[in-house]
């Protein structure tokens, strides 16, 4: 009896493991040729991050800096921005979706880290953010030093929580499904601060500027890169060339000003990884 159960269990596990061995498959599915042949670019983007990728409740359209960039990529690669298909990803789902080949490219405020580099290919840096804190206006938290023993909220799969834990292990973390939920939790007083990249926090704060403030300055450097399947060399090269092109011909600057109301900084490096700045 017990042997029978064990073998059933093993078969189930094996089935799960087999599906996990799809690395090369994903790279092939999303190769430059495959995308061209298909005539459709599937991009994984956020629906919950204001200014980057946000589903506007008033008209149901997904808008943002990253969305516009993906439209531009589809236009240059396939001739029309209509050939872009958007798929919602969260911090939790984006890497599995890329690994499975469900999306060709991920543009989702993803920081380039050494750990993630083992899992996927990154393009050159297209945005430089820094981790910061969002608190209620009435809060007396001014920076990391004031977070001792406090409850800080963030999204699952993001690196922000781990960074804080490293800086001060006494901080209690609560991780929600997405940034919108962490913001809701802050509103309902489930914790003292939300932490993630300032660019995302700015989007939240702009929804209720009278009630919330961003404090603490940068305590990390968060270079954003577009994510591609591991081993998908041609596509990575193409995307890097695309980033160079839009920077050269002014498209990048135009989009940056459209969303962030200021010119892009001139000193964004091509290659960078997440760095914790000592405070």
């Amino acid at each position: 009896m017990s042997k029978k159960w064990l073998s059933i269990l093993l078969v189930i596990m094996l089935a799960f493991t087999l599906t996990a061995c799809g690395d090369n498959e994903a790279a092939k599915n999303s190769s430059l040729d495959a995308v061209k042949k298909r005539g459709k670019l599937v991009a994984g983007v956020r629906y919950d991050v204001n200014l980057f990728g946000f589903k506007d409740p008033s008209d149901g359209k997904v808008k943002g800096f990253e969305i516009d960039m993906m439209k531009e990529l589809a236009k240059r690669l396939l001739g029309s921005e209509k050939k872009l298909e958007l798929k919602e990803v969260t911090s939790k789902t984006r890497i599995p979706l890329l690994e499975n080949g469900d999306v060709d490219i991920v543009a989702s405020t993803m920081t380039i880290t050494e750990e993630r580099k083992q899992q996927l290919n990154f393009s050159h840096v297209y945005f430089m953010a820094g981790q910061s804190l969002l608190v209620k206006k009435s809060s007396n938290i001014k920076g990391i030093k004031d977070l001792r023993g406090k409850v800080v909220m963030t999204a699952k799969g993001a690196t922000s929580g781990l960074v804080l834990k490293k800086l001060d292990p006494s901080i209690k973390l609560k991780e929600y499904e997405n940034y919108a939920d962490s913001f809701t939790a802050l509103k309902s007083g489930k914790g003292d601060a939300v932490t993630t990249d300032d660019s995302i926090l700015m989007g939240m704060q702009s929804q209720a500027p009278k009630e919330f403030k961003i404090v603490g300055g940068y305590f990390t450097q968060e270079p954003y890169g577009l994510g591609l399947a591991k081993g998908n060399k041609e596509m990575t090269t193409y995307v890097n060339k695309f980033l160079k092109d839009i920077k050269k011909d002014g498209t990048y600057k135009k989009l940056y000003i459209k969303w962030f109301k200021k010119s892009p900084p001139k000193d964004i490096p091509e290659e960078a990884v997440q760095k914790v700045l000592k405070k």
Partner: protein
Amino acid sequence: MGSFSLLAAYKQEFIDGFLTTLSASLLALVLSLAIGTIIACCRLSQVKPLEWIGTVYVEFFRNTPLVIQVFFFAMGLPSLGWNISEFSAGAIGLSIYTGAFIAEAFRAGIQSVSKGQMEASRSSGMTYFQSMRYIILPQAFKIVIPPLGNQCVNLVKNSSVLAIIAGGDLLYAADAVSSQTFEINMTYIFVALLYLVITLPLSFGVNLLERRLARHS
């Protein structure tokens, strides 16, 4: 398969998650049995307003998603000024939701005992409560065991809603570990096995109880 060893580094997360899932389930089980009993009595009551309360309760909580209920307790109540912990919000949500199903199981069980039984016991001099206690409920109990077992197992699995309100349960631990190790399949398979550690004995226990009771009748 070697990647299972990767998970060993996160032993503490899994232990914490397991204990949270276990205690939330146990607490919710006790509460939902109490709620279920009270609501079933309401539904069977001859007093009309009580019957209505019972019906409204069952139909409302049985027919709305658990996720929404738990989200309301975790996020909605605090914004109204009543701050409860994630654990309490999860346990209360689970109790109220499961209570509706248990009430229906109890009601069906009691009603399935034929009316003649109650009439016979009443005419042989027992009071209403005596007839319930000695004649109706023991028979109803046997009928109720299998659906009750189902609800218990569902309750344990449903406790995974704690993960979306940062409740620190098993699934929450799995989310955290998988995003750090990138071992998605391994982590979730492992956690599924941990759920089985709770639910399988529960299933077997209910089956055993069912057979025991059948033998005695």
